[in-house]
Amino acid sequence: MTPLLQVSHLVKEFRRGGWLRSGGTVRAVDDISFDVRPGETFGLVGESGCGKTTTGRCILRLIEPTSGQVIFKGTDLAALNAGDLRRARRDLQIVFQDPYSSLNPRMRAGAIVEEPLIIHRIGTREERKARVAELFGLVGLDPAQISKFPHEFSGGQRQRIGLARALALNPSLIIADEPVSALDVSVQAQVVNLLQDLQARLGLTYLFIAHDLRLVRQVCDRVAVMYRGRIVESAPANELFTNPAHAYTQTLLSAVPRVDPADRTERIPFAHEAYQPMALREVAPDHFAAI
C-alpha cells in the first residue's frame, strides 16, 4: 500500500541555550524515518523531550526541518513554496495537547471553528455557518454553544472544539499531539472514542503522539518508540507490546503501573549513560528495532 505520509531522514536541530550563545546545537529530531498508511492510526510514543512534538511540527512545517523529506500524498512538503504549502496544509491538520492554551481565549467557539474556512476563503457566510453547525454536531458539541468562549467549556469540550476546527477543511491526516493527556481518564475515554468514530466515518488517518503506553496500545495500529530524537523501535502495536525488542521499550513498558496484580512485571532499568544510537533492523515482519 502506498503510504499517505512518508517521513525520511528528518532532522531538526535547535541552537542550544538561547540566541547569541554559541553553545552549539541540539538534535531534537535525529534522522528519523517512518511511513503512515492511509486509514491507520500511527502512534509516536516516548518520554518528554524525546522529540515527538518537534517531529509533528516539522511534518506540518510549523517549524522548518533542518534536513530530510516529508512526502505527503506524493509531494515533498519540505520543498514546497509558501503558496503550495498553504494549499497542502488544508489536507493535514493538528490537534494540540493543551485544551486550555491552544484555543484563542478571546474568540468564540464558533469563530474558532470557522477561522480555517475564512483563511482558505471557503464558502459564503451562510455556508460557513452551516458548516460550523455541522462540525459541532460531528464532534458532539451542542450547536447552541457556538457563541460561548473557550473558558466556558470543560477540558474535554475544548478538545472537541480543537478537533472541530481541525476537521473544518476535510483533512485526510490529523496529527494529534497528546490530545487527551490533560484530561481525566473518563473524559479521555470519551474523546478517544470520538476520535475513533470520526476515523471510521470520515476515513481519517491519525499520527497519534502520546506518552501513555496503555492508551497507545489501545488505539494505534502501529507504533514507533522515540528516544533522544531517534526511533529506537517500531512495530504493529500488539507485537510491540508483547515482544518489545529494544531495552528502552522494555523499560518503558515495565514502568507502567498496573491495576491488575497479574499484569505486574519486574521493573527493568535502562542504562541511559551507556546508550549508543544504532540503525534500525527488522527483527520480525514489520518489526524494527535499533539493536
Binding site: 518520554e47 518528554s48 470543560s154 474535554g156 481525566d184 481518564v185 473518563s186 473524559v187 479521555q188 475515554a189 470519551q190 478517544v192 472514542n193 475513533q196 506518552h211 501513555d212 503506553l213 496503555r214 492508551l215 496500545r217 489501545q218 488505539v219 523499560t251 518503558l252 515495565s254 514502568a255 507502567v256 503501573p257 498496573r258 491495576v259 491488575d260 496484580p261 505486574r264 521493573r267 535502562f270
Partner: protein, 336 residues
Amino acid sequence: MNSTSDAPLLRVDRLRTVFTLPDGRDVAAADDVSLVVSAGETLGLVGESGSGKSVTALSILRLVMPPGRITQGEIIFDGRDLLTLDESELRAIRGRRIGFVFQEPMVALNPVYTIGQQIAETLTVHGLAHGRAARARAIEWLRAACVPDPERRAGEYPHQLSGGLRQRAMIALALCAEPSLVITDEPTTALDVTVQAEILDLLRELRASLGLALLLITHDLGVVAEMADRVAVMYGGRIVEEGPVADVFKTPAHPYTRGLLACLPGSADGRRLTAIAGTVPSLGQFPPGCAFAPRCVDRLPVCDTIPPGVTAPIGVESAGRSVRCYLHQPAAGGRG
C-alpha cells in the same frame, strides 16, 4: 501524647469543608468524609479532578483558605483533634509529624531559597538540627531521596531542577523531619512513567525504612493498585467506596468505581473505551440526591431523593469495605 496501639494514626470523622460561592451559597467540597490511616499503612484516595481530594488533604492539614472553611467533623491525629488546636500547635505538627508533598512542586517550594536552605530551615524550625549540622543533614536527605550529586543540588534553586528532581526535593523536604504520616497529592502526575516509577520506588523504600503511613492522592488507579493497602474512591465531595485495594478493584461495588476501572485503556475488548458519560459538575452544580446520579448507568428512582448513606456492599466480599450507593440498600428502595 502517643496513641494507644490499636487507635489509628489518623482518623477523619465526618469532615465537612464548604466554600462560599460568588452567589453567596455555602457549598460543601468535602462532605461527610470519614477515613482512617493506621501507622505504617498506605491509603489511596482516588477520583476525577473536582471530586474533593485536594480539599480533603488541605483540610486535614488545616490549610484551607477562605472562602473555604471546615464547618464540621473531627480530625484526630495521634490522639488529638487538629480542629481544636491553635496555629502554633498546628505548626508543630505540620511538616514535623505530618509531611506533605503537593501536586505542584513550584507552589510548595520557595523559589528564592535553595533546596538545601529549605530543608535545613525545616530542620531548624522543628529544633532537629542547627547551622552546619542542619546543612549536612539536608544533603543527606537529598541523597536519601535519590537526588544525584546532592552536594551540588543543595545549592540550587527550585527552577534550576527538572520536574523529577523537584519532586524528589519535595519528598526530601516532606520527610526530613521524620513525620509519621505523609500526605502526597498527585506526587507523580506531571512526570514521565520511568521517573514516576523511580519516585514510587523511593516512596516505598522510605515507607519501609521509616515506617511511614501514607495518604496517597492520585487519579491513577494503577499507582494506587501498586502502592496502597486500602483505597477510598471520592466523588462529589464524598467517599463513595472504601476498602482493601485488591478487593475493591477486583469487585468494585459502586457504579463510579466500576466506571473508573472500565475507562482504563486495556480493560475492554476491541478499540473503543468504556467512557463514563458526562463530566464532573462544578461545585454547586451537583444534584440533590446521589451526586453521581446524572452519570450513573444503574440509577434508580430513589437515587434522586437524598444522598445514600454508607453501608456494607452486597454481593461481593464485604470485609473491611463500605459503599455509598442505593444498589446496596434494598430496604431504602435499592435493588440489593
